[in-house]
């Protein structure tokens, strides 16, 4: 039985296989509409979410399966003090596969240690969010046609931005990827990412505080939100939240082929005026998320 806790649990071949399946689902949706008939997905969301939970639920419905679960910790027995392991043992009796989001880092790994059904990490605090990474990879593949020979800029909160960490991990497997890390000093990529991954693997990267300076070289711009819920101190959040705002003016020096991504939700780091720009890919990204989750559910349930 396989789980997906961290994007590094998947080999490059497995990621390619998921992308191939997702592309096939996009081309031939009817062929997949009964693949998970009589199967049940439990969505255990101990922390609020719009996109991820609905994306999982939509994915399972499109595969002909059913969905059960909860969307906040206070509507589960967690509010009575039930442990993650007990919750998982219980839900495993009702569902064939579990997608779980939890505010504490490592909770899905604990779940996977006690589960009798596959666990998908749907986000654990500021730590990992592998299905967002798969979504991002499918977006990159469909919008640029490649994973290698790209310059990708990550802009905003690179410290707590779990999607950034996971995507850097995933892209580090491909050749000639240059990472441009754009953030204020307080929200820089954590030292363990720099030391244990970028430096150790000898990857190409540069750091800057200026989005304008980085813009002309980018093939992909990955914007992130400064996440209020990750700060213990509100004053720090208020000081940092509007450091970068992408607008039409900022895009003047960008490539015509630029792909603008964002894991959403956005607050005001991308001006609404950018939505009409053909380079804005963040709503397509949401759609791709459903297809890659369909591919993942099929793989973990071992449905052919």
């Amino acid at each position: 039985m396989r789980n997906l806790i961290d994007i590094i649990d998947l080999t490059t071949a497995e990621i390619d296989e998921l992308i191939t399946t997702a592309n096939d689902i996009i081309e031939n949706p009817v062929q997949y509409q009964d693949k998970c008939k009589y199967k049940k997905l439990a969505t255990l969301f101990f922390e609020p979410s719009t996109r991820t939970r609905l994306s999982f639920e939509s994915a399972m419905y499109e595969l002909g399966g059913n969905v059960l679960g909860f969307s906040a910790a206070d509507s589960s027995s967690a509010s009575k003090g039930e442990s993650v392991s007990d919750t998982i043992r219980t839900v495993g009796c009702y569902a064939d596969i579990i997608a779980m989001r939890h505010p504490k880092e490592g909770a899905p790994m604990v779940a996977s240690m006690h589960s009798t059904v596959p666990i998908i990490n749907a986000g654990d605090g500021g730590h990992n969010h592998p299905t967002q990474t798969l979504t991002d990879l499918l977006t990159i593949k469909r919008e640029t046609g490649r994973f290698d020979n790209i310059t990708i800029g990550f802009c905003g909160d690179l410290k707590f931005g779990r999607t950034v960490h996971s995507l850097i991990h995933a892209l580090s497997r491909y050749a000639n990827v240059h990472f441009v890390l754009i953030s204020p000093d307080e929200l820089k990529l954590p030292e363990y990412m720099i030391h244990d991954l970028l430096d150790k693997k000898g990857l190409s990267y540069s750091t800057t505080t200026s989005l304008d300076e980085a813009m002309p070289n980018l093939d992909i711009l990955y914007m992130t939100r400064v996440q209020k819920e990750r700060f213990f101190n509100e004053a720090d959040y208020i000081r940092l939240k509007d450091t970068y705002i992408l607008n039409k003016e900022k895009l003047r020096n960008a490539k015509e082929s630029l792909c603008i991504m964002h894991p959403l939700p956005r607050v005001n780091e991308i001006a609404v005026e950018v939505d009409k720009d053909p380079r804005a890919c963040y709503f397509k990204q949401v759609l791709y998320g459903k297809f890659i989750r369909m591919a993942l559910i099929l793989k973990l349930l071992e449905v052919k």
Partner: protein, 141 residues
């Protein structure tokens, strides 16, 4: 200073000065009912000063704890008053319930029954990370 020699047990030698009490605590030596001697700041030609712990009991010695604190520590095994062997240490690949994760965002901070597990991620710099949240282990004092 006279300390009785031990009959059956261990002499943990070449402990960096000041680490003796850390090892005493991490090995839970306070739970043993035998004679235990902690010698602090003993003269050492190799180290200048060192700590030594003598334990007069044949109990399960957790080598992972000692390897984590300092793989250069040496352990002399004593049987019937005689030195019968020396144990050499290595940095353990995995530590279970030896150190605790201090990250307040980690699942271990709220669920008490979970084992605190760390894995060696950088042998050269002796860095351990929590398997759940990947936070770097802080040396326990």
């Amino acid at each position: 200073m006279n300390i009785d020699s031990i009959h059956n047990g261990f002499v943990i030698d070449h402990i960096k000065s000041g680490q003796g009490m850390v090892i005493y605590r991490l090995l839970h030596l306070e739970d043993l009912d035998c004679s235990i001697a902690i010698i602090k700041n003993a003269a050492s030609s190799k180290m200048g000063k060192k700590d030594i712990i003598k334990i007069d009991a044949n109990f399960h010695l957790d080598l992972d704890v000692l390897g984590y604190i300092d793989p250069d520590i040496t352990i002399n095994v004593i049987k019937d008053g005689q030195l019968t062997g020396k144990l050499h240490l290595e940095l353990p690949e995995r530590l279970t319930n030896v150190i605790t994760c201090r990250n307040p965002r980690c699942i271990t901070s709220v669920e008490q029954e979970i084992d605190h597990i760390f894995k060696l991620t950088d042998k050269e710099n002796r860095i351990y990370r929590c398997v759940y949240c990947e936070s770097k282990a802080k040396k326990q004092r």
